[in-house]
């Protein structure tokens, strides 16, 4: 048996030369964390779509007053519970631009039902960039300019009206503004609390951890219902609905931390045990 000759090349070796990466691979491995997240996000079509809608909603915030065809509390007592008026383009075969049919109201005396019929023969073109209900933009700049206005002597209820004859579409725009912003406050508060409390518990461990654990448990087991009811009675009378909503959000934010705090804590505890943490110097 001859000995197997073991040949070792002593030439310099560059692994990168062997496993040459394609440009795509390179792009992938060199991409920043944000870029990776973005790619991943883009793969989720539903999320992208939802994100777009969300962005659009946020984009309306500064200009709600202009976008809404009516002011927040404009009432049309002759159009209570009116159905949505759909926007048409072609009237009797020719293009008239966006228009609506006027509504006629009739009260059915038999059932006391408010009935509306569209008068299909009349086309009322919508007006754009026109003067309508007055408002104060950001509570400061008075104005009357609206992106879309109802037709002259007509109405434009894209989503119908409510029980006092207020335009639903306009009200949703106004309401959406509050929902989109105030919620952020609550989340911020609870987020800060989460990270601080959970972080301390996880990092310090021991007694602090124990106390936080018990607090978490208590708050989590506390039925929320009576809390809400108590809160609703406790908020001051003179507060506007907006302020009340704001107040409740803050309180909810203050009470919402246990869930995430626990996650933060456990994550920290787990990371403490990771090899790289264990191999820390000192």
């Amino acid at each position: 048996m001859s000995e197997l000759v073991h040949h070792v090349s002593d030439r310099p070796f560059n692994p990168a030369a062997v496993e040459a990466m394609t440009p795509e691979q390179e792009r992938y491995f060199l991409a920043s964390q944000w870029r990776l997240m973005w790619w991943k996000f883009r793969r989720h079509r539903l999320a992208v779509l939802a994100g777009l809608i969300l962005l659009l909603s946020y984009a309306t915030i500064p200009v709600t007053e202009v976008l809404a065809p009516y002011a927040l509390s404009t009432r049309h007592t002759e159009f209570i519970f009116a159905p949505p008026q759909s926007v048409h383009l072609f009237h009797e075969g020719r293009l008239v631009g966006p228009y609506v049919h006027p509504l006629t109201y009739r009260l059915d005396m038999e059932t006391l039902k408010r009935e509306y019929t569209e008068d299909k023969s009349v086309a009322q073109p919508l007006r754009f960039l026109c003067l309508g209900d007055s408002y104060e933009l950001w509570g400061l700049i008075p104005g009357r300019l609206h992106l879309i206005c109802p037709p002259e002597n007509g109405t434009f209820f894209l989503l119908g009206t409510d029980r006092l004859g207020r335009d639903m579409a306009s009200r949703m725009l106004y309401g959406g503004r509050i929902s989109l912003t105030v919620g952020l406050v609550g989340i911020t508060i609870s987020f800060l609390l989460d990270i601080t409390i959970g972080g301390f518990a996880g990092y310090l461990g021991g007694f602090v951890d124990h106390v936080v654990q018990r607090m978490t448990e208590v708050i989590r087991s506390l039925p929320e219902l009576p809390l809400w009811m108590a809160l609703s009675a406790a908020l001051p009378v003179t507060w506007s609905p907006l302020l009340v909503y704001f107040g409740i959000t803050i309180i909810l934010g203050l009470l919402d931390w246990p869930g995430l705090a626990r996650a933060v804590r456990s994550k920290l505890l787990a990371l403490r045990e990771e090899d790289y943490a264990a191999s820390r110097p000192g």
Binding site: R43, H44, R45, L46, S73, R75, T77, I80, L107, E110, T111, L112, K113, R114, R163, L164, G165, Q213, R214, E217, V218, R220, S221, L222, P223, E224, L225, P226, L227, W228, M229, A230, S232, A233, A234, V237, T238, I248, L252, P258, G259, L260, R262, A263, R265, S266, K267, L269, A270, L271, E273, E274, A278
Partner: protein, 990 residues
Amino acid sequence: MTMTTFATPAGAMPTRCHLAQLATMLALVALVAGWLQAGVAGAATLVETPTLAGAVAAGELPPVTERVPAEPLVVDLSGAGLSPGRHGGEIDTLFGRAKDIRIMTVYGYARLVGYDRNLDIVPDILKAYEVEEGRIFTFHLRQGHKWSDGAPFTAEDFRYYFEDMVLNEEFSEEGPPGELLVNGRLPKFEVIDETTVRYTWDDPNPNFLAQLAGASPLYIYRPSHYLKQFHPKYAFHEQLEAAIKAAKARSWRALHYKKDRQYENDNPDLPTLEPWVNTTASPSERFVFRRNPYFHRIDINGRQLPYVDEIDAVITNGRLIPVKTGAGDSTLQARGLEFKNYTVLKSGATRNGYDVRLWRSGRGSQLALFPNLNVEDPVWRAVMRDARFRRALSLGINRREINQVVFYGLGVESNNTVLEESPLFRPELRTRFATFDPAEANRLLDEVGLMARDSRGTRLLPDGRPLEIVVETAGEDLNESDILELITDSWREIGVRLLTKALGRQSAPAGDGRRDADVDLVRPRERHRDADAEPQGAGADQRRPAPVAAMGHPRADTGPQRRGAGRSGRRGAQPAARGLGGDHRPRGAHQDLGAHARDQRRAAVHHRHRHGGAATDRGQPGAAQRARGGLVDLGTRCVLRHLPSRQLLARRRGGGRLMLKFVAKRLVTMAMTLLVISALVFVIIQLPEGDYLSNYVANLQAQGETVDSAKIEFLKKQYGLDRPLIAQYATWVIGLAQGDLGYSFEYDQPVAAVVGDRLWLSMILNVLTVIFIYAVAFPIGVYSATHKYSFGDYGITLLGFLGIAVPNFLLALILLYLANVWFGTSIGGLMDPDYIDQPWSIGKAMSVLEHIWVPVVVIGTAGTAGMIRRLRANLLDELQKQYVVTGRAKGLPEGRLLRKYPLRMALNPFVADIGNLLPQIVSGSVIVSAVMSLPTTGPMLLDALQSQDMYLAGSFLMFLAALTVVGMFISDVLLAVLDPRIRLEGGVRR
């Protein structure tokens, strides 16, 4: 009217759920006093009631000749354009809450004396009465009149009340009832003979008869033969003590009080003189009232009244009443329906075979605002007391618009005044200052001196504060808040800012006098003598109290109405009765009326789902496994081994002892946690102003009932509300530890007895929901993860989000509707009303199954969605791991690969989530149960919270908290057992 038609038609009336509506109902039930003709004259020979004939034949009941008094009250219906009826029939009706059964006492309207159509007081239970000098009242009873149990009704029953209750020092510790006092002195009471009694005051008592005739009358007689067993003067000591103990009452007096509520009508054993006798003990979801075989009225054909054999009152969520009525669940419904329900009711009328009739409201006005003339703030008081100011406010209301918007233009625009029929009606009072005239209003306000305005155009008070008027409202009634909103707008034109405070619950501080509201919103009662009731301080220039906002009642559809049924008795029970009886509080008394959140009051609570750590999971797949309680898991550091290594096995074996220690430790902390929670719960319940009694009093007053301060004192002592909070808390917690849940004020029973079946139904509902969530979430979650980004995944994800986004109550209503339309399931409840309070049977179980799926699906949906997302995220995490790749490379079939490892790992949250799920389901089920009127603990909890029924609410909450704590404990232990990677606390600490 024949009885056959009786099974179907429901007279639906646009009335509000309010005592004051009773007049209308009474008219419907055909108890019109104008048809009463005293005297036996035309009465034919007595006819035996068919449904009682069997009992009579069997000897269980004496024949009708012996049951009816020798001189019965003969009711002639022909006088009112009606014909006498026939015996038989049942009425199914719906009440918004169990306490409403007292309405039956009002519908029945058997009083010593009662009002007839002309508002004259005529004898009813009494054969006759005489009044001398306005202060000597002689009452003659009917010979042979009997209580509903057959015992004779005699002068002894009056004597018992006066001598053994009113004059008994122990019983009337806080003093005799105020109604009996004239200038602080009680009358002299005499029994003349078996059927004659006399009350003699020193001074005239003009209110006495009116009080006796009230809808909620002064009862000056008692079924003494029944109540003597609870009175120490008559009962054997040992037996009484045993009875007190059995009822968990604090004294004989409390027991007596509890057994003796004639008006509340909640003791089925209490004999009565009313036409129908309650046969169901509280609490229940269905109360059955049967005919009183000894009732004292007959019709001209000799038929003993009432005609109707039975009234079944099903208790349901007040908001479901219109829907249920529309679905044909009620055969006669007056309460719980409003004008705005008309369209809905009408649309179901032909399908379900009932009539909808507009009925005239008994109230002068749908809504009235009463400026608080006694407001503490001196500046405001001066302004409020200026009649010009109040006139201006009234002129600033656009009643025409309110009428158009809220009442379809069918209302009568009016001040809050009496109905036209009243002899006290004066047309000018209806329209005076009631036309919309902002110019005149502005002129008046300027004249008052409120010239200055702020930047918003709001006028300023003399001291510079803005003219902001706060109106407290229940906020639940859309009509009310709509009207207020309209007024807000029209008042803006006159520079007055109206702020509406929607109260989630009654908060009417009793006693401390501090109040924020400047204007009280009062559901006005008919006030026939309001003109005399002008309070001293109200300004002499105005003859009437000044309700500034008043909306006319919807005009009645006054065509000839067919009666729902010919029925005995008499109308009357004019709600005014209360107003008549010395009940004219000065305006300032409205102070403690508060806003009238009452039966309809349901907490509008935002639904916030608690997903615990779910947020992280969903967003960030890395943090799949979470620590729970005292446990730490290793997170993503997955060291999964095909076979447990020796090391792992060793740790597991050693874990037995550790486990035990862990469980013991957790049990101790659990107890501690619960203790802390109990303190928090107690504090939270106490947070809103006032206590149960102040709420109770406010509620009663809101309904125009008088409340005796002596009785309140008594109740306060009984309930221990006079003791310091700490002591109350200590008693409660110590009781809890011993398994005693405390005492419910509302039901006047131990909490355990009140809760009863509900707890089990709640548990069943919650357990079923958990199973539902697991059963649905598991397959979907797996599919969704293995088919990531596929069409199916998107579809399911969308559905899942819809499940989270759609409010539970909405889903509940939709499913209820569908279940009703498709399967004919009765709306609301957990079983058909017929099965309520019946023993369990196959039919009942089937009925429960038929109903329970809706709430299970509704409550489960939100949880399912979350669970699917979590399982998907976890599984995706696992699927990306190296070992899966290795497995695939080794050629493991995909299905086997999935089942063998990743799925098991991903199952962790399923176990762990019990702790998360339970509170979510429990709080979710509270609201859903309230919406769907399920006989579970949810609606009861809501009611208890609203009425501050402290121990009932507290015990419920503790139960919920315990459920959560136990749930977390179970999930901890399970996790520790199931997942070897999870270290027990203290097990390893490097």
